[in-house]
């Protein structure tokens, strides 16, 4: 196993992790600030992907499609929050789970009715080729774009949360919602804003991953579980935790899949090794979460006081 191979897999893991971060960041904010378990977060990712794909086909441009899709999804998120989800904050977590689960089903069929079961989304042709990062390592240009956008947004979120007034409000709300409200913060508007930001981040992930995966109904369900795992690992309400957690989960999943497969191929027939690798990598992610919970029950970077 050469250095090039390991480096390429590290990049793959990073790319996967950063996209998970975009979902986990929104989820952790919503969970942290509004104390709401939002199972429909994966559906926001799906709605975002569909809107990006639809706009990209209407405008003929991938960039305009994604930008427009992000804006529309943020608006959709805000509308959803004001109309439907606002009534859930006061309720217990189980009611929130039931209501947002119902939302998943409604959004799945709603999207199917409006857009059909799937939409095509192609990356811009200029990024179809590889970039020579090192002699012997050609990495797809499009995945480099994903890495760049992922890092950029992580940085932007850090600046937003740590250095701006809005960020201070968000951190206050995540730390102690009752006290923030007592201090006169307009909690209702803050919540709508947080939800809209979360929806926008989902749309970025959906639009960027669309060309690699498929924009189809039900695409949000698998990625939602990993997003929740990351939120738990990183600490509820912590963007920093979401980033570290996402990168760790992405690395464990990708590296585990390939390294474990190599190991299994030594003594298992290829079909078994190919199936066992990803299965064990998946187990590894959950074992990691369990270990973190045992050592640090509040997550790696807890914010709750």
């Amino acid at each position: 196993m050469t250095g090039i191979f390991v480096l390429e897999q590290v990049l793959n893991g990073l790319q996967f992790g950063l996209m998970l971060f975009l979902l986990a960041a929104g989820l952790t904010l919503i969970f942290g600030v509004m104390d709401m378990i939002n199972l429909a977060h994966g559906s926001l990712y799906m709605v975002g992907a569909f809107l990006c794909a639809w706009l990209a086909s209407k405008t003929g441009s991938f960039v305009y499609g994604v930008l427009g899709g992000v804006v529309l999804t943020a608006v959709f998120g805000a509308v959803l929050e004001v109309s439907l989800l606002r009534s859930l904050y006061a309720r217990d977590h189980l009611s929130q789970v039931l209501a947002t689960f119902a939302l998943i089903l409604i959004l799945n069929d709603g999207v199917k009715m409006i857009f059909g079961a799937d939409l095509p989304l192609a990356a811009p042709a200029a990024l179809d080729g590889p970039v020579e990062l090192l002699p012997g390592l050609m990495y797809p240009a499009y995945r480099l774009l994903i890495l760049a956008v992922g890092f950029g947004l992580a940085l932007l979120l850090y600046v937003l949360v740590q250095k701006t007034r809005l960020g201070a409000l968000v951190r206050a709300g995540a730390s102690n919602r009752t006290m923030s409200s007592a201090m006169g913060i307009n909690v209702a508007r803050l919540f709508t804003g947080v939800f809209a930001i979360g929806a926008a981040l989902c749309a970025v992930a959906g639009g960027l991953l669309g060309p690699l995966l498929a924009v189809q109904v039900g695409m949000g369900e698998n990625i939602l579980i990993l997003a929740f795992v990351i939120v738990v690992i990183g600490g509820i309400g912590s963007i920093r935790g979401a980033l570290i957690g996402a990168i760790l989960v992405g690395a464990i999943d990708t590296l585990g899949r390939t390294l474990l497969q190599h190991m299994f191929r030594e003594f298992l027939p290829p079909q078994w090794a190919s199936a066992a690798g990803p299965a064990f990598a998946s187990i590894a992610v959950y074992v990691f979460m369990a270990v973190v919970l045992v050592l640090k029950p509040q997550g790696l970077f807890p914010v709750r006081s």
Binding site: F5, N12, A117, D118, P120, L212, A214, Q216, Q261, S274
Partner: protein, 395 residues
């Protein structure tokens, strides 16, 4: 109590005798249950089989074998349990005479028992797994497409002819995937550097491509139908692997449904199939022309299989003069039916799988700015059956 039981038994016997005594009437129409994958990344395959099938029915005046045809189409959504429910509905509620349409082997294998338990014949216009060609063969199963291994055996033979020495193999981890790489390895004489089975439906191949790059094969052979193949080929090219590695494909990953989204990187790629749009036999020329007229696109091999499935049913029902109540007679009619297949010569083996030629095709210009498959004249495998027929007890 005993009297009651005896009375019930007598009533049943009388009823059975009454039913048996009624003369066999010709049915007033032919009902076909068509279950296929019509949504999701691989929907193009199911849609094409359906369109090919319905085109044949339309060109026969809405009839099959002289009887008005009712084709009940439903979407299995790429889910085996949905397909099972749809089969059950078609067989029990709609009382169809034939079932057909499924694209994927795993979905078909899950749903077939629903048909076979009720003595309904299944005509496969695509999936034809190797166990059912051999020890699991079933008299109610007819494959009008090809044995699962065939395209891959042809590709292995072509690789030998080209003198290619090393290959890396990749296929999804399900019955057809296992059949495909087993078929390739059966004929290929060079070295297999790697054999990777990915998850069925997986669309992101970054990790696998890094492995391929590290293995440095001369040839990359994949079996990835539908959306899986489209994504793999795009990502293969995007990772810069197309420069040093020759991509060899079965027709499943190189037909029009893949050529259109992938575009110019497909040009020049070799692939193997039992059918090509440029075959010159009259049946095919009519099929391709009518398909393009009706659906405004070039048919894929999946469409040709749907078309042939309908023509097979047409010939069998015609030979039976519309009498569809005797399953054994219907079977014999299907086995011996003579119809003009768009692929040219066609006949069934003893295990009800085809014996036919396989050809090498290459993706070239269609003269109108697009790409289309063009076949070599000489078949790479002639009059080829399958490796499992000896294990099937049917004779």
């Amino acid at each position: 109590m005993l009297i009651d039981l005896l009375m019930k038994q007598a009533a049943l016997v009388a009823a059975a005798a009454a039913v048996a005594a009624t003369p066999a009437l010709a049915a007033d129409r032919v009902k076909v249950g068509f279950v296929s994958t019509l949504s999701g990344p691989s929907s193009a395959l199911g849609v094409d089989i359906r369109d090919g099938f319905q085109l044949a029915v339309k060109l026969n005046g809405g009839k099959l074998g002289g009887l008005p045809a009712e084709v009940i189409v439903s979407d299995d959504q790429f889910k085996p349990d949905v397909a099972r429910q749809l089969f059950e509905k078609n067989v029990k509620r709609d009382k169809v005479d034939f079932m057909t349409g499924v694209v994927f082997s795993n979905i078909m294998l899950a749903a077939l028992p629903e048909a076979f338990d009720h003595k309904v014949i299944y005509i496969s216009a695509n999936a034809a797994p190797s166990p059912m060609a051999g020890k699991d063969c079933n008299p109610l199963f007819f494959a009008v497409s090809w044995p699962n291994d065939a395209y891959h055996e042809a590709a292995g033979e072509f690789a030998n002819q080209r003198g290619w020495k090393s290959v890396y193999l990749l296929a999804p981890n399900y019955q057809a995937g296992k059949d495909s790489l087993a078929g390739f390895k059966r004929t290929f004489k060079g070295q297999v550097l790697g054999e990777n089975y990915t998850k069925l439906g997986q669309l992101d191949y970054a990790a696998e491509l890094a492995e391929i790059r590290a293995a440095k094969p001369q040839v990359m052979y994949i079996f990835l139908p539908g959306g899986m193949g489209i994504n793999f080929i795009k990502q293969f090219v995007g990772a810069g692997l197309g420069k040093d590695i020759t991509l060899l494909l079965p027709g499943f990953s190189a037909d029009q449904d893949v050529i259109n989204p992938v575009g110019t990187p497909m040009a020049g790629l070799f692939n193997t199939a039992h059918w090509s749009p440029d075959f010159t036999n009259p049946a095919n020329q009519k099929f391709v022309a009518e398909f393009q007229k009706e659906y405004k696109r070039v048919p894929t091999l999946y469409a040709s299989q749907g078309y042939d499935a309908a023509q097979l049913i047409n010939a069998a029902v015609r030979d039976l003069k519309g009498k569809l109540d005797d399953v054994e007679a219907t079977r014999k009619a299907l086995k011996s039916a003579k119809f003009d297949s768009v692929r040219g010569a066609f006949r069934f083996n003893t295990n009800q799988y085809p014996i036919q030629n396989y050809y090498v095709r290459t993706v070239g210009s269609d003269g109108k700015g697009g790409l289309i498959n063009k076949s070599f004249n000489e078949p790479i495998l002639k009059d080829h059956g399958d490796a499992y027929v000896q294990q099937c007890p049917m004779k």
